[in-house]
Subunit: 201 residues, 2 copies
Amino acid sequence: MAPSDTRAKIIEAAMELFWLKGYGSTSIADILSRTQLNSGSLYHFFPGKQDVLVAVLEAYRDGIGPMLLEPAWGGEPDPVERVFKLLALYRGLILQTECSYGCPIGSLALELHEADPAVRERLAQNFQAWVAAVRACFEAASDRFPPDTDFQALAEFVLTVMEGGVMQARTHRDVGYFDRNVAQLRAHIDLLTGARVPAAA
Amino acid sequence: MAPSDTRAKIIEAAMELFWLKGYGSTSIADILSRTQLNSGSLYHFFPGKQDVLVAVLEAYRDGIGPMLLEPAWGGEPDPVERVFKLLALYRGLILQTECSYGCPIGSLALELHEADPAVRERLAQNFQAWVAAVRACFEAASDRFPPDTDFQALAEFVLTVMEGGVMQARTHRDVGYFDRNVAQLRAHIDLLTGARVPAAA
DNA sequence: TTGACACTTGATTGACCGTTCAACTAAGCT
DNA sequence: AGCTTAGTTGAACGGTCAATCAAGTGTCAA
């Protein structure tokens, strides 16, 4: 094994466990048994459990582009449609998990009530990176929107719709809640753009 | 002390502690020290910790009307403005807590990933009651909306905006995130109603 | 060959967890 | 008075937790 795959293995395992069970309910022993490591190895690379969380949040942040946006967008050329392709990806995750999907960042953001500044900062960075990508989509289609449109606020709104839709779909175990939220967002954006056809007059 | 204030005291204390620290991070010992009770008393009324949670969720559900909606609405007569009065109430809570407010139901919904059916059912009931109240507001002003409006979906969308706005405001420690989300919702509803004046032509 | 260093081993620690239970108190009934 | 029962007491239990650390192993460069 290459030197210090260990660190990467820990992060990978912790990423999945934090997503599945949350931070508080994931024990160090859980991470160790999944990685086949001993506690000493983990504590050689991380001062404590919270530092594993910080590393996981940094991995999510750095993976937003290659792991989330590119698979979501595929070949979609239209920037506004890319936003809905991204939401469609989340819909797929909801279906794959039989409506128990929870956004890893959103779940951690709500779980960590009195979060350490280092943790909260990384959570905010994740949201910021996601919102920035969506905002860039809208700005690439800025000619379709009213001239005074606040694209930052609109992108934050998309994040809200995703998080709220995911939360309700899981609580009710029904993807329809997600779909109706996305439909409302679609209606809102159609009203804003006057449903101008993407590449036509 | 009246007979079995005890039960109510436990629920009251657990309500606040679950909100402040979450369910998993609140220990039975926390509840006992706050109520000045001994463990035997708690276990006389509740089979276990989860049953305290169920009772708390039922208390929230039954308190939505008198504890949340009535204070929020005050004398506001216009049904659509009542929805925004409700959102304004949440804004006040965010400010009171220095942007660390989290919706108790939303937080529990995200924390309890693999929740017992009894718990998930109560969480869903809370969302349903909240959404039903908002839907009733919109339906009371149905003449302002397009005839094919899906008021249930619109009310679910309001819940999404609240939860998403609260989540982002807390993560960034900035109420502006909540405000911008509400502003987007306001714009959406204005577009739907054509901004028809409430009690005029 | 030697020594330095990176990494691993895994038993152990002490704190805290939810829960149990036998003993006790107090009030109401007959 | 005696009996019943709701409610309380608080020590104790077995389990799990994050974290520790002294003793190792393997791998380099000098």
